[in-house]
Point group: C2
Chain length 346, copies 2
């Protein structure tokens, strides 16, 4: 609606009767400009409807002002929590978060990382520790802090904030065993795509073996994301193949919910006829009926810690390069033993 050309800093400077440089300083904090001048410049900028052109600013300063993050899925409460934690942790530094999702595909992750790099982010957070060779090279050569989150890669690229997915799986396995189960299954996805899920599966099956149980009851040929639909379908196949199964761990709470309700629709009682456990501590696991036993991976904290690491690294402070978080088993009614002592958990 203004004449045609967007106002520039020079326009504001002219109107306020100062040099463009003073305008530049006035519009950012922590710089020495008289309050009166700053006020006058602000008024001039408002009058002209001027907003700084970050494109030009970051070109000139060499700093883009944002952090890039890849997540497997945009619609996942866990990854959303991590993104939120990261956003919050970066806020004070004036860094913004640029999100991209890979759809659980490391080739897509490579594409995304390359696109991010073109924009010269000040740091990069990737979910997971599995990458294409070229993606590893891109990240290594990026020249900015790189954080791998949600995982404990054997060969970290740079920095890591994660937890042991294998241990999370093992905790569930031991819990189910303690509840008296000996015929225990696992429902998950194509491990090549969801490596964190595959790690949970590995830890789970390992623990079963250690306990002397069979680790054969596995349905894992579905493509991530493994959600309610997949959980329901997989449960049917699990029970068809191993009808005497009494307990099952699912790779996520969503699939656990799908599996649980599929079991109930088949006329089974949960937990009496089938115990069900998930992963991720979604709201759903708390409000489902019965409540679903799960593992809390502290998704939000992962984001906060990643932010802390990035801010410290950019400030040049020495930091630890790896932060390992604990996971916490949350036992709920879906895995209560027959003579339950935790019935009140519902």
């Amino acid at each position: 609606m203004s004449d045609h050309r967007k106002p520039t800093m020079a326009d504001v400077a002219r109107l306020a009767g100062v040099s463009p440089m003073t305008v530049s300083r006035a519009l950012k904090s922590g710089t020495s400009v008289t309050e009166a001048t700053r006020e006058r410049i602000r008024a001039a900028a408002d009058h002209l409807g001027y907003v700084v052109d970050i494109t030009a600013a970051s070109f000139s300063s060499g700093r883009s002002g944002f952090v890039a993050m890849t997540i497997p899925s945009i619609n996942n409460a866990n990854f959303a929590d991590t993104a939120r934690g990261l956003t919050e942790g970066l806020q004070d530094s004036g860094l913004e978060l640029l999100l991209g999702y890979t759809d659980y595909d490391i080739a897509e992750e490579e594409r995304l990382v390359e696109a991010f790099l073109r924009r010269r982010p000040e740091a990069i957070v990737v979910t997971g520790g599995a990458h294409t060779e070229r993606c590893r090279a891109l990240l290594s050569g990026a020249g900015v802090p790189v954080v791998e989150a949600w995982d404990l890669p054997a060969q970290p690229i740079d920095r890591v904030v994660g937890f042991s997915n294998a241990e999370a799986g093992a905790q569930i396995a031991r819990h189910l065993f303690e509840q008296g189960h000996h015929h225990i299954g696992f429902i998950g996805g194509n491990g090549a795509r969801d490596t964190r899920g595959a790690d949970r599966q590995r830890g789970f099956l390992n623990a079963l073996r250690v306990l002397g149980l069979s680790d054969a009851r596995v349905v894992t040929d579905l493509d991530p994301p493994i959600t309610m639909r997949e959980g329901a379908a997989a449960l049917a196949r699990l029970l068809d193949q191993w009808p005497d199964t009494t307990a099952v761990m699912c790779v996520s709470d969503l699939s656990a919910f799908g599996a649980m309700n599929a079991a109930i629709r088949r006329g089974m009682r949960v937990p009496e006829d089938l115990a069900v456990a998930g992963f991720g501590a979604y709201d759903l696991s708390e409000y489902a009926l019965p409540g679903i036993t799960t593992v809390d991976a502290q998704a939000h904290l992962i984001g906060v810690e990643a932010a802390r690491m990035i801010v410290d690294a950019l400030a040049g402070h020495p930091t630890h390069r790896t932060k390992i978080l604990d996971v916490e088993l949350m036992a709920r009614h879906s895995t209560a033993a027959r003579q339950s002592t935790i019935g009140e958990l519902q």
Copy 2:
């Protein structure tokens, strides 16, 4: 790891024995460069580990290459679907999507829009039609296409892709009435923050009045996002105040799920003692037990249509400025009449 300075286009040009301009052309498609030259330049770029600096490119060309979108919540299947549809629709044009979330707060939306504007997006999509005065001004003066989504604002800023939230509410009201209910409640949130939810409520209560029913049974003093926890808490308050309520609409499927399970925990049967309906056609509504009656707002299509509008607008094609989508009632078992004819829906 390279000596110190990032390679520039000039470095690539020197190595390939051409001018920088030819490098620029070679690295983007749809430009006239001999295949041999392009190959040579690509090789030189790879050799140097060169990636185009989009910061510089967009500064120079004046085109940032991305579209900005605000959504109320990052972890919401509906908005995620819209974002996905938008991403897909923009892909062919090489436009990327920059997402920001407002936490259902129009002051935060204003902050976000201002931050976006600094980055000179080529188009802006905002969720909803309620904005601060200043935000309206910023959007109007942005000089780029603006799409308001998920709503039908009385005074659109520019373009609109939405549906009638009021009509969605009314459809649920009529459906519950047809199922034989006369004591019908509504559970929602603080309308000042979630105006789309408020519109659904308005349409719902209006329809009740038209049907000659009381529109007093309302619990709506919670802050968005209204999720399972809030749904459960609100149901308790609803039943405490109006114990003879036989049906309730919730502002979203999540809150409907929370309310439904809270009712079941109280010993009620759904749908026999209480019918429950939601909104949004989440997976959850399909896989819950019983399945939850809901309204499909075609979230993904909203994104696709917004993308189409933006692409057309940027290409200078004449377009309609408003696209109104239909909503579809999905009746499930949670609202089945006692002598149900749709019992098979489960």
